[in-house]
């Protein structure tokens, strides 16, 4: 339903009311902005002195860019590993052999249900006891992200392959293809097109979740902005928070836009006969793909 059917084309009285509401809502939004502005102003947060570091090139080269690289390095490593993990376990769940299917399902469902931060903490404390001392912040973040997002991607892979109509594999078997040929030549090429948007939106989640590294002192963008930068430039916490907030939102919006573009493209695509699948929910809820609103979850964790 297009939302415009919720109200009539405004007549004279409704137009007056609409204008009135517009004015009131502009005032409301302005009041909120004003409240924030004066609040910051009262604490001298708009002073040139604390914003000045962001005009110097060294602040960017010494703090912001290394932080951003830390975030991107963790996200990149975790994305590659999670895609591999997801492909392996997603296909394992589709196996004809029960002894592969069931353990793979157990692994995927377990890691999807564990709060990611607990997983990261656990790895962070487990590794020193197993491998001796050292800095395990990077490894913990990457492994935690891999296990959680890999499990979600496994569900995406499974849903993608299962969304291909049965006739496709039946036809492939009928012309004498082997199981692996059916998967490799017929099912996967079509499934990947349908999966692509869900995969990219899961990568947005992964990129956002690298910020959890902040809690175990992994030097990422968030850590630079909230701990290291304010320590170097006294009083610059709010400016730093605003600057890195804009960077995070910009990065994620660009990735989300890519996901939307891919979704529109694969809806038009003739490579696959199925529409793009919705990303699965965060836990075993038995929510089938195609449930209205399932996509609303994109990026929640």
């Amino acid at each position: 339903m297009s939302t415009s059917v919720l109200f009539d084309a405004p007549g004279p009285r409704a137009r007056v009311r609409n204008h009135l509401l517009t004015v009131v809502s502009i005032l409301l939004v302005a009041a909120v902005l004003w409240f924030i502005y004066t609040g910051f102003d009262a604490k001298n947060q708009w002073e040139g002195k604390i914003w000045e570091p962001f005009l110097q090139a060294t602040t960017w080269t010494d703090f912001v860019i290394p932080g951003l690289l830390g975030t991107l390095r963790a996200a990149g490593a975790a994305a590659v590993l999670a895609l591999v993990f997801g492909a392996v376990f997603g296909l394992a769940r589709l196996s004809d052999h029960k002894w592969i299917r069931v353990p793979a399902g157990a692994v995927v469902e377990t890691f999807r249900a564990i709060p990611l931060l607990l997983l990261i903490f656990f790895i962070f404390y487990l590794f020193p006891t197993v491998f001796g001392g050292g800095d395990y912040a990077f490894i913990s973040v990457v492994l935690g992200l891999m296990l959680y997002n890999g499990s979600v991607l496994a569900e995406v892979v499974r849903a993608g392959v299962r969304s291909i109509p049965k006739g496709q594999s039946e036809a492939a078997y009928a012309i004498g293809m082997r199981k692996n040929q059916v998967m490799r030549l017929v099912l996967l090429p079509q499934a990947v097109t349908a999966m692509m948007p869900a995969i990219v939106s899961q990568l947005v989640v992964l990129l956002k979740d690298t910020a959890l590294g902040y809690i175990i002192a992994y030097v990422d963008l968030l850590n630079m902005g909230f701990k290291i930068l304010p320590a170097a430039f006294f009083g610059s916490l709010i400016p730093a928070a605003i600057v890195i907030g804009i960077i995070y939102v910009g990065l994620n919006m660009a990735l989300s836009a890519l996901a939307t573009w891919l979704e529109r493209r694969s809806r038009r695509s003739r490579k696959s006969i199925v529409p793009p699948i919705a990303p699965p929910g965060p836990a075993a809820v038995g929510m089938g793909t195609g449930t209205p609103g399932a996509g609303a979850l994109e990026g929640m964790e």
């Binding site: 339903m1 709060p115 006891t129 809690i215 929910g281 965060p282 929510m287 609103g293 609303a296």
Partner: protein, 227 residues
């Protein structure tokens, strides 16, 4: 590996349970506030007033693309410490509310998106009929469209709530160091990584999230709008 230390789970059990209770409290506040905020946001996003529509859209898009850790760290260090936004004189109570409201503000964006998807499934004829009998925008929404939309998106809302419960562990980033994750970390500082303790907390979370998943799944089937 530390399988031999099941007694650690028993020794620290009450301390960890205390922390887990804080996660439950955060979840309860977060559930109520984010549902209300999310509903207000979705009304804004479909309203006939362009300014409200734009404000709602911007809010949802910005919040959805911000890491929760940043939202909570900003609420604690920025809003609470720097600006002096205070809900209580007791530091612990204050940071509880800072985290609870940060979490709600974050979750509300996802509630809004779920509801909007639900509104989109309500057939056009429903709203047209409502308008034909002279209902206003708010009446159409409150009496006809939203009740149907809520019933359609019970399962996705359940998933949003489950994700929110798991997200309560990020409270640490908001300076609230009393939840299960913070307590687990504190125990690990003395015992080292302990598998029984980790599994104990994980099972506690599953004991809450899995029933919610099944309950919302069951409710979604039971209350499905027959069309």
């Amino acid at each position: 590996m530390r399988w031999s230390t099941v007694d650690e789970l028993i020794e620290y059990g009450p301390f960890l349970a205390e922390g887990f209770l804080e996660n439950i409290k955060l979840s309860l506040v977060g559930f109520v506030v984010s549902m209300v905020l999310g509903t207000i946001l979705v009304i804004m996003r479909v309203s006939p007033t362009p300014v409200l529509r734009a404000a709602g859209t911007i809010y949802v898009n910005v919040v959805r693309n911000t890491p929760l850790t940043l939202v909570l760290a900003f609420s604690a260090l920025g809003l609470s410490d720097t600006l002096g936004l205070a809900f209580s004189d007791v530091p612990r109570t204050n940071s509880f509310w800072v985290v609870a409201l940060g979490l709600s503000a974050y979750t509300a964006a996802f509630v809004c998106e779920a509801l909007r998807a639900g509104i989109n499934t309500v057939p056009m004829g429903q709203a047209e009929a409502a308008r034909a009998i002279g209902l206003t925008f708010m009446q159409t929404l409150m009496l006809i469209v939203l009740p149907q939309a809520f019933r359609v998106v019970i399962a996705p809302l359940g998933s949003v709530v489950i994700a929110m419960i798991k997200n309560t562990t990020v409270a640490t980033a908001g300076g609230y160091l009393a939840d299960a994750a913070a307590n687990m970390k504190e125990v690990f500082d003395t015992t080292g990584a302990s598998i029984p303790i980790f599994l104990g907390i994980v099972v506690a979370f599953m004991a809450v999230t899995l029933p919610i998943g099944f309950l919302t799944g069951w409710l979604a089937r039971r209350l499905a709008v027959a069309r």
